[in-house]
Point group: C2
Chain length 142, copies 2
């Protein structure tokens, strides 16, 4: 989670909502990404999406069933859907997101009967630091 | 929808699940995409995602509030989330997807209180041809 938190801090420094994500395989980081929709002119460029896409490209396949995803914020519906499509084995996330989260809030995507793959989910890891990064970012913009 | 159906047929010919999508702005097609997760080694490479990303890149911004999306199949949770993030004005789709759809099935994403943007939705457009493409594709693989 340290690497994901560092990526989140880098996103904040670049003027993006501070969220970071890392894909781990066999105990090694194979992809790290920071949230970047503004910089990339890409509404889908959440940290999870970029990390999943980079890992899949690196491995040369569309499924990551032997990989885990660490992300500093509860994934939204788009990212939860991508995690299921990628067949991520374990999802570790930091701060809960009552507004846009889709794991323990809103659509609760992995609990839907139509969800075709559910990772193991571990929430609240590094949530204090992840939440502080977000609060500081939004406080500075007000 | 003709262009989206043609993109779906092209996906089938390339061995991908046949789904096609088009982004329209001011009455003109600005992006067309076919489903391509296998070819691109990218679990997020659904037709809607590729079309939205291409349109945003072309316009140089992360929001498509003046654009409509046409897609041959009911969007999944990932794509519905991306449509909301992109602020797509109107969503037109073909065949309903009782297994993976997230508009009228499963999470019914746009009806969730946490959904921050709801496009106008028009379903069932070209659904017969869209559904036939999918049925023929899966029948040929059995």
């Amino acid at each position: 989670m340290r690497a994901a938190l560092d990526a989140a801090a880098a996103a904040a420094a670049a003027g993006e909502v501070p969220v970071g994500a890392v894909v781990i395989r066999d105990g090694a980081v194979i992809a790290t990404a920071a949230n970047a929709p503004r910089r990339l002119h890409d509404p889908t460029a959440h940290a999870e999406m970029l990390a999943i896409r980079a890992a899949a490209a690196m491995l040369g396949r569309e499924r990551l069933e032997d990989c885990d995803l660490w992300v500093t914020l509860e994934p939204c519906a788009m990212c939860a859907g991508a995690i299921a499509h990628a067949r991520i084995a374990r999802l570790y996330y930091g701060a809960a997101d009552s507004k846009g989260g889709a794991v323990e809030h809103g659509p609760r995507f992995f609990a839907q009967p139509t969800c075709h793959h559910r990772p193991e989910v571990f929430a609240g890891i590094g949530d204090r630091e992840a939440g502080e990064l977000l609060r500081d970012f939004f406080a500075a913009r007000r």
